[in-house]
Symmetry: C2
Subunit: 347 residues, 2 copies
């Protein structure tokens, strides 16, 4: 344990931490960094969310620090989008080995902050005792004056159930990465000799999109902001999979839901991609997770503008059951939505 032995040992310890902080402050312009805590101006109410990205859990070891930073920011912004909030401030805790390229990480993070008009206002730097990097981001968001907060508890019987984009593509990307696909400086390479690399051009393109979708999800802040101006409805983001997140939304609202399997939106060439990966497309769409699209409900009369590319996937019921319906030649068959998805604390 370095900290236990190193203090005061050397009269000329290199200024690693202070130098990095100075470098950072130059890039932040007029900065909130420099005191023991950042002072945020009065205002609010505020939405605060915290999310981590852990090497070896959320992504494979060796991922480009720039990609880690972008993903960390995106999954956190997705939480603010699910609240209908606009990002205002960010606080980063970064625990990484000594030789980690922190400046590359920060450059990408700051570029993302600029894009979303978010101010990095503080944080904490620590060394990792292992080779693994661990980053935790706290975001503070605000809502517009005329808007409401989106809550998981806002669903009511008769609401339509919507999904903000396709499901399962991120999970396919995860399978591709496990099989050897890599993201490097914006380019995706597919493992040689696999069906996705040697198959059709459109299959390879679908595979590349899936890897990108997995590593660089797009937070739906504009959709969240539109939803927050509607009169009713619940929302959350799909991070752990529809089969885990939909029950959470229903529990908070005291309702049930019926999902129409045929309405689940899938990415272009998704069935072919799943076939090449030996995966079941519906399974990935239901249990996959990390889609980072909004799952939301709206009174049946409200249509979502086409520009948001959302899909109605079912409806909210007063009966507490959560079911999934398949159209079949002999009539629709309905069963309980199988449980699954991602549990952060399960084996």
């Amino acid at each position: 344990v370095a900290r236990l032995h190193r203090r005061g040992a050397s009269p000329a310890i290199p200024e690693g931490e202070d130098r990095l902080l100075l470098w950072l402050r130059r890039r932040l312009g007029e900065s909130l960094i420099g005191d023991d805590a950042a002072v945020l101006p009065a205002g609010g109410p505020f939405a605060v969310t915290v999310d981590s990205q852990v090497e070896g859990i959320h992504y494979l070891p060796g991922l480009d620090p720039a990609c880690v930073a972008r993903r960390l920011l995106a999954v956190n912004l997705s939480d603010l989008a699910a609240m209908g909030a606009s990002p205002v401030y960010g606080f980063l805790a970064l625990t990484a080995p000594l030789d980690y390229d922190r400046r590359r990480f920060f450059r990408a993070l700051l570029a993302g902050c600029a894009r979303y008009r978010l101010r990095l206002a503080g944080g904490d730097l620590a060394r990792s005792p292992s080779a693994a990097c661990m980053a935790t981001l706290t975001l503070v968001g605000r809502k517009r004056r005329s808007a409401r907060w989106l809550r998981r508890s806002g669903a009511a019987s008769g609401h339509s159930l919507w999904l903000g984009g396709t499901a399962g593509e991120s999970a396919a990307g995860r399978l591709l990465i496990a099989a050897g696909a890599r993201w490097e400086r914006g380019r995706v390479t597919l493992p040689d000799g696999t069906a996705t690399a040697s198959g059709s051009v459109s299959l390879a393109a679908a595979a590349r999109r899936a890897v990108r979708r997995h590593l660089c999800p797009q937070p739906q802040l504009e959709l969240g902001s539109w939803l927050a101006r509607q009169t009713a409805g619940a929302a959350m983001d799909v991070s752990d999979g529809l089969s885990r997140d939909l029950p959470r939304l229903c529990r908070e609202s005291g309702v049930g839901a019926c999902v129409e399997a045929d309405c689940l939106p899938l990415a272009a060439d998704f069935n072919a991609l799943c076939a090449a990966l030996g995966a079941d497309a519906l399974d990935l769409a239901i249990h996959g997770g990390e889609d980072y699209v909004l799952l939301f409900t709206l009174p049946a009369a409200i249509e979502v503008p086409a520009r948001f590319a959302c899909h109605r996937i079912g409806m909210i019921t007063s009966q507490l059951r959560i079911s999934i319906t398949n159209a079949a030649p002999g009539g629709a068959s309905t069963r309980d939505l199988p449980s699954g998805g991602w549990d952060h604390l399960a084996d």
Copy 2:
């Protein structure tokens, strides 16, 4: 990488995460937890701080989760104390191995939150890819209406320089822990056969106090609140050692400082304890760090009330040099304050 392989694999994944969250929500009473982000009421301005405790870096592997939680809370509260802020909300990101006793951790954390009237309002749970536990706490604080924020930049030439308590005791505790001292359910055991265990009763008591001071520092929230009602002065907390933190305060204020070595407050029996540990008492006091007492400046005319047990340790100068003065038989000798202390990113 478990996440890459496990999704949808089993139809009956145990509800580890959701069950822990339900358990937690029962204990939180009317809770802010349950949405993608916590909504904090309007107000402010707010002070926000983020700090981590990493097993193997900030403490030895195997430390009682209750002690980790208390320490995490204390070091973060110390940052709010340094701003003159009162804690309001906390957000926890906990990354730990599957068999980590999270409930023990949370029980201690919630007891601490209750003590300091702080509300746990959200967080994130993840599995650790290694045996190491990593906890990051974000705290939101508020200041009283009649008070100002304490800043590092508030020091002016002629101010007295003060320390909120003794220096170096925490570092002595760290040395004792490295030598085998342990904290278990509130009791400190000293390693058999060492000078501290076999020496005098008062030496053993000093050693136990040092271990406790290291593991369970006491944030100086009341002192911070008193300082925030004074008309002038800078403040910060000593976390990385006087030799590293005083230059930071001086840099932010554009001033220098002269420390009187003989005025540095030391714990009872500290010299004897250092002798038994083979350590230099002044070295520990200057470079030790993790004291979590406030380092602050005040106009020379202002005295700190005795109940805070603060010590005047020097003065702020317009000359940018940071020096330390020793009284000596032939007259005082002055030298540059040696650099040292803790750098989170140094070898």
